[in-house]
């Protein structure tokens, strides 16, 4: 292969090397620079890092820039799934007296209700029904279904009974939605016999009462009467609302503040405590070390969740308090020993290493030794364990809030939102799925970031 090439004498003049030839090809990087470079190469970890940054911005920076109102309740838009129409009819709030009719003679077999009709426009503030009186009826029962009834065992929700003997009307205000309803009315005799049912179908329009419209600033208080019957556009809820008509997105933002605060601050605190404790034990060594670690072992042996619950109850949450502090405290009190153990183990290893001896020989003081030599070498491991502590802290918060032992209302947290949402999982799954998704994505991001960091720092997580 090299036969074709015929070198000339010039080729054999001594090579004059440029300076850079002697320079090592790769720039020398510090431990952290190197780690950062490796982390950047790990696509999953990098994306996770972006997600974490996004979540932090989402929860902490976004409310500074945009206005999120997680408190105000919109009773006209309860448990709305995202992206529903927002046009709403303005309706009067004056109570309805109902309709009354003289009763025909009260004997003979009980007939089915006739002439069942919807009075006025049916809307989500009220659906008003009226019917013709039935001979022998003592009162009437009203049902509401979302399907066309298939028999007298399938009339739907029992809404109630009429209050007065001559009353032949009913006003339904029970959590009305803009779906098609089938109202059924049965007459009931004094003896408790029940007549066949009569059904009417109706689809209410979305409505807002004048009172609410003014309260929400959708109408000027001046021209109220003229505006009844017109339409207004309701506030937009990007991710829908919860069971009290509060904006889901705003709740997620503020819930994120709680969850991330607990999830990040608690690990920071207990890692700090762990470093001090473990570092001290590892540095002092001997009998003190043994005693300190024995105590740490005790704390590790406490059943974690049981004690979380116990501490949460023991510390108590006063009126108006969020309950974040007790939970942070409980987390810190129970979680530090693992870090302490880890740090101590590392310290013991590092203490034996030649560079520490060398520094000692050169007359370095203890403080200098600890802060200049020992701690920086522990930081990698600590950082990784910190990253992995965050998802478990977030899980702990979610778990405790889920069983009602977490933060106190009205403070939202993703866990307590799940707890609220789980009850209506079948009817409004978004109330559970959104916060659950936020928890999952956060935990996922921190886990993957932790993996990436561990690889990047090459930290051995073995204790």
């Amino acid at each position: 292969m090299m036969n074709a090439f015929r070198p000339t004498p010039q080729d054999f003049y001594p090579l004059i090397k440029q300076d850079e030839a002697d320079v090592v090809v790769r720039p020398s990087l510090s431990y952290w620079q190197n780690a950062w470079r490796r982390l950047k190469r790990n696509r999953r970890a990098l994306i996770s890092l972006y997600i974490v940054v996004f979540l932090l911005l989402f929860s902490f920076a976004a409310p500074q820039v945009f206005e999120f109102d997680s408190q105000s309740q919109d009773l006209t838009q309860l448990s709305k799934t995202p992206g529903l129409e927002r046009q709403s009819l303005v309706v009067d709030t004056a109570p309805w007296e109902g309709r009354f009719a003289a009763h025909p003679a009260t004997d003979g077999p009980l007939q089915a209700v006739t002439d069942l009709q919807v009075i006025d426009v049916a809307h989500t503030e009220a659906v008003r029904l009226a019917w013709a009186p039935v001979a022998g009826a003592s009162y009437y029962r009203v049902y509401r279904h979302i399907l066309r009834p298939s028999g007298d065992k399938d009339l739907g929700l029992p809404l109630g009974e009429t209050e007065y003997v001559d009353q032949v009307s009913f006003e339904d205000r029970l959590k009305l939605d803009t779906v098609k309803y089938y109202y059924s009315v049965q007459a009931v005799s004094k003896m408790g016999e029940v007549s066949p049912y009569t059904t009417v179908a109706v689809q209410p329009r979305h409505a807002i009462s004048v009172r609410d419209a003014v309260a929400r600033g959708l109408l000027e208080p001046e021209q109220l009467q003229q505006r009844i019957g017109t339409e207004v556009t309701l506030k937009r809820h990007l991710l829908g609302t919860d069971y009290l008509g509060r904006d889901m997105l705003a709740r997620l933002v503020y819930g994120g503040q709680t969850s991330l605060l607990i999830g990040i601050v608690a690990p920071l605190l207990f890692v700090a405590l762990g470093i001090v404790y473990g570092g001290l034990a590892g540095y002092l060594g001997g009998r003190i070390d043994e005693l300190m670690m024995r105590f740490a072992d005790f704390v590790i042996a406490l059943p974690f969740l049981l004690f979380m619950i116990l501490f949460r109850v023991a510390m108590g949450i006063g009126p108006g308090e969020s309950g974040i502090v007790p939970m942070l405290l409980a987390l810190v009190l129970l979680s530090w020993p693992a870090v302490a153990r880890l740090v101590r183990g590392q310290m013991l290893q590092i203490r034996e290493q030649p560079f520490v001896d060398a520094a000692r020989l050169m007359g370095a003081g203890s403080g200098y030794l600890i802060f200049r030599h020992m701690l920086p070498n522990v930081m990698g491991v600590v950082l990784v364990s910190l990253t992995f502590s965050i998802p478990s802290a977030i899980f702990t918060e979610a778990f405790l809030s889920f069983i009602g032992m977490g933060v106190a209302p009205p403070t939202p947290s993703w866990g307590s939102m799940c707890n609220d949402g789980v009850k209506s999982f079948m009817s409004h799954p978004h109330e559970l799925l959104f916060p659950a998704f936020m928890i999952s994505i956060t935990v996922l991001a921190f886990n993957l970031l932790g993996d990436g960091l561990r690889d990047a720092l090459d930290a051995r997580m073995k204790d």
Partner: protein, 314 residues
């Protein structure tokens, strides 16, 4: 070995004492009166109740009595179920939690080891990617979501089949345990899968595997005789904490699936400030965990010859 076990037992006893004391202190710091009920009782009745539960004595005396009773394995009478001893409650509900926990642990361990091994074998191919995706999801999704979905799943399955293949909730037959145990073990299984995978990969690139291959041992034999046993070691060490996580983490599953386990009972007891049950349960769980960790250490000793034969380092 005997000295090692004895030493561990002794420290276990001290640990249990510590747990008991911490529980006692925590419990007595709880504000509120466990003897209050929806219907107010007269001061006389209150006094009678206090006398009945020994709450009229000074705290130090109560502590001594508590420790003394604990020594005799006696935790007193429940505050809410006035006719039942805490021992009876534990004896009745713990086996349920334990059965569920053991099944969950078996599922978690078996699944974790199998899936972990499979992912390591198929490193960076689609089975690895698929399983790791599931693992990541299982680690990141809170258990209560899985519990809800699990129950919904049974319901849909039964609807689809037209008969009840699995019960939706409750306790009794094996079918009752299956899905709850799966849900309960899922997180741990995911964790163990990850652990097993990295452990397998570490072992795969270990020198002794290369040695084995260099001497012509078949892939299958390497897998079973050389890789598995070594890769399982780190998995075994975390089984102790895993048992802890599973047995005490059963609340949610027990709540959702209406399983009469001790976890659910504990949550109820806390909500009702049932002092004796809370203290009894906590101490019992603490002792249980201490014993489990000890047991795992001993088992580990049997698997890892370095510990069995070698010095009894702790």
């Amino acid at each position: 070995m005997t000295a090692f076990i004895l030493k561990r037992l002794l420290s276990g006893v001290i640990t249990i004492w510590f747990i008991a004391t911490a529980t006692f202190v925590g419990m007595h710091a709880v504000p509120g009166n466990p003897l209050l009920n929806a219907k107010a009782a007269s001061p006389e009745v209150q006094k009678n109740l206090q006398a009945r539960y020994g709450l009229d004595k000074p705290v130090t005396t109560q502590y001594v009595i508590f420790l003394n009773n604990m020594l005799h394995g006696e935790f007193g009478i429940s505050f809410t179920q006035k006719n039942r001893r805490v021992n009876d409650i534990i004896a009745e509900h713990f086996p349920v939690s334990a059965t569920l926990g053991v099944l969950a642990l078996v599922i978690a361990a078996a699944g974790g080891i199998i899936w972990g091994a499979v992912t390591a074998l198929y490193r960076d191919k689609w089975p690895d990617a698929t399983i790791m995706l599931f693992v990541v999801v299982a680690v990141s999704v809170p258990s209560f979501v899985f519990a809800m979905l699990g129950q919904l799943g049974i319901l849909k399955l039964n609807e689809l089949l037209g008969f009840s293949l699995l019960p939706v909730a409750g306790w009794g037959s094996f079918g009752h345990m299956l899905v709850p145990a799966l849900v309960l073990g899922l997180g741990t299984m995911a964790y163990l899968t990850r652990l097993m995978r990295s452990s397998m990969l570490e072992v795969t690139s270990a020198d002794f595997i290369r040695t084995a291959r260099a001497k012509g041992v078949s892939t299958l034999r390497i897998f079973f005789k050389h890789q598995l046993r070594n890769a399982i070691l780190p998995v075994v060490t975390v089984l102790g904490p895993a048992i802890a996580a599973i047995t005490t983490g059963g609340f949610v599953v027990e709540l959702v699936f209406a399983i009469p386990g001790l976890g659910r009972y504990f949550v109820q007891a806390v909500q009702q400030l049932d002092y004796t049950v809370i203290m009894g349960t906590t101490v019992f769980y603490g002792a249980f965990l201490v014993i489990m960790v000890l047991a795992v250490d001993i088992v580990y000793g049997f698997i890892d010859p370095r510990i069995r034969v070698g010095k009894s380092g702790g």
